[in-house]
């Protein structure tokens, strides 16, 4: 009897579960003042002043197009997401959506203004954010985000095609 092929939902779920556990492990952040400059407090994952203070970066990839990179350090984590874009239309829609959100990074709090090379969007979470927000809920949010982005992009692609279809229909209906 051949093995049942895992359903798409459970393959997605396995991917998200791995991301969740990795995030939970990486969220061991605490306040750490800069060792180089007096009175400064910088996110170590950005500054990378000392290799002792950073964890090994972990890449979780479902396929070459869909990856998540998690880099940890003593006082901050950086999470970069690469979204699946299979055709031209998806590429530009995804780029637009990401740019839209990154322009509002101030409001978004944990979003980084520029994504890391090779990825579409990045989050930077520091110990200060973790002090103001529950860690487990932040992890929940990231997982929700990864799920929702894919749905968003497909929704937008659908919107474009259905509008094109409707415009064409209206036009052709008028000919008799």
């Amino acid at each position: 009897m051949a093995q049942a092929v895992p359903k798409r939902e459970s393959a997605q779920k396995a991917y998200l579960d791995v991301i969740r556990t990795t995030l939970q492990a990486a969220f061991c952040i605490e306040n750490f003042e800069s060792q180089l400059v007096e009175r400064h407090n910088k996110p170590e994952v950005e500054v990378k002043s000392n290799i002792n203070l950073s964890l090994n970066p972990v890449t979780i990839s479902r396929n070459p197009d869909q990856r998540v990179l998690i880099e940890g350090s003593i006082n901050s984590i950086r999470i970069s997401i690469a979204v699946k874009q299979s055709n031209e239309l998806e590429k530009i829609l995804c780029k637009r959506l990401m740019r839209f959100m990154m322009q509002r990074a101030d409001d978004f709090y944990i979003l980084r203004r520029k994504p890391i090379e090779g990825y579409d969007i990045s989050f930077l979470i520091t110990n200060f954010h973790a002090e103001q927000m529950y860690k487990h809920r932040l992890v929940d949010f990231i997982i929700y985000f990864v799920e929702e982005i894919d749905k968003e992009v497909s929704e937008m692609v659908l919107a474009v095609s259905s509008r094109g279809r409707m415009a064409a229909d209206e036009f052709f209906k008028r000919f008799n």
């Binding site: 530009i92 949010f141 095609s161 415009a167 036009f171």
Partner: protein
């Protein structure tokens, strides 16, 4: 509104207001306005108590149209409303309320005239199409000396019309200035091609990207490039016969504008959608913060705190 209006709403409204004021024997407002329309059309409208109501249109590509007999068509449509063109404009219509307004009891008598004046731009285009529809109706074989009509109706975009024994071919070249427009435009063009199959009575549609289609291979200055698309419509006798002509001309001459209008609408819708989604994400993020509980209790020893 899904289809673009063929007539110019501004002209129609201005004219209607003036006529109604005139019929009510009120004092007419002095008017002098400039109005713009699609394809770079510029209108100049003047009206005053003593002089007739004039509408002048200026089209950059009027020379191209003139070669195909706009004079005849305009004379036929407007008769004595047509006057010598104003300085700097291509066509002028003048309507004298005292003499040229159709008399009658109800509004409906002069509304068709108002509509006809508002379709001035459409009637300028009509000449080209009618000429080629005639060619096709008379079944002239291509060996005859008529050549393709080339109208540069926008700076970078051209429309080509040609007729053969059983069909009239209209080709639009269109430029997508924005790279995103380019991709959305392609999706739309594919949809046009697909959906045509559902509507057997519609003209056949052929799309081509970057390079001009086969029919234009003898035109050296047809544009090529990454952001150029060509839409070809093949109009059959059922579209070009006398009864269907007006409808066909109405739909075809604004096609490029219709197309780009819907692309822009699409982008606006996407923008609103993204804004909505971003707000949703923000709300979800707020959930991560601890709830702020309003504390009614003053202290552990307060007896009244136990009462709910």
């Amino acid at each position: 509104m899904i289809l673009l209006e063929v007539h110019n709403r501004i002209i129609e409204e201005l004219l209607t207001l003036q006529i109604e004021a005139f019929l009510r024997k009120e004092k007419l407002v002095e008017l002098k306005t400039d109005v713009v329309d699609f394809d770079g059309a510029l209108y100049h409208i003047t009206s005053s108590r003593d002089k007739p109501f004039t509408v002048s249109i200026k089209l950059k590509f009027f020379r191209d149209l003139e070669q195909h007999g706009t004079d005849e068509v305009l004379r036929r449509e407007y008769g004595d409303l047509l006057v010598a063109p104003l300085e700097g404009y291509n066509v002028t219509l003048a309507l004298n309320f005292n003499t040229q307004l159709p008399k009658g009891d109800s509004n409906e008598v002069w509304l068709p005239l108002v509509r006809k004046i508002a379709m001035l731009k459409r009637n300028c285009f009509a000449a080209v199409f009618e000429k080629y529809f005639e060619y096709q109706a008379n079944q002239e074989i291509t060996a005859v000396n008529h050549k393709r009509a080339v109208i540069h109706y926008r700076d970078d975009e051209t429309m080509y019309v040609d007729a053969s024994a059983d069909r009239v071919i209209v080709i639009f070249s269109t430029v997508f200035k924005d790279p995103d427009d380019n991709i959305i435009g392609r999706v739309f063009m594919e949809e046009f091609k697909e959906r045509r199959r559902q509507f057997q009575q519609a003209p056949q549609v052929i799309v081509s990207y970057r390079t001009p289609p086969e029919e234009l291979k003898d035109m050296p200055d047809a544009r090529t490039g990454d952001n150029i698309g060509y839409l070809t419509f093949v109009l059959f006798p059922r579209h070009t016969k006398a009864a269907a002509r007006d409808n066909t001309i109405n739909l075809i001459h604004t096609l490029r504008n219709y197309f780009h209008y819907h692309i822009k609408c699409c982008k606006a819708y996407l923008h609103a959608h993204m804004r909505h989604k971003t707000n949703e994400f923000l709300k979800r993020l707020q959930l991560a913060r601890p709830e702020v509980k309003k504390n009614f209790r003053r202290g552990a020893g307060d007896a009244s705190a136990g009462i709910e």
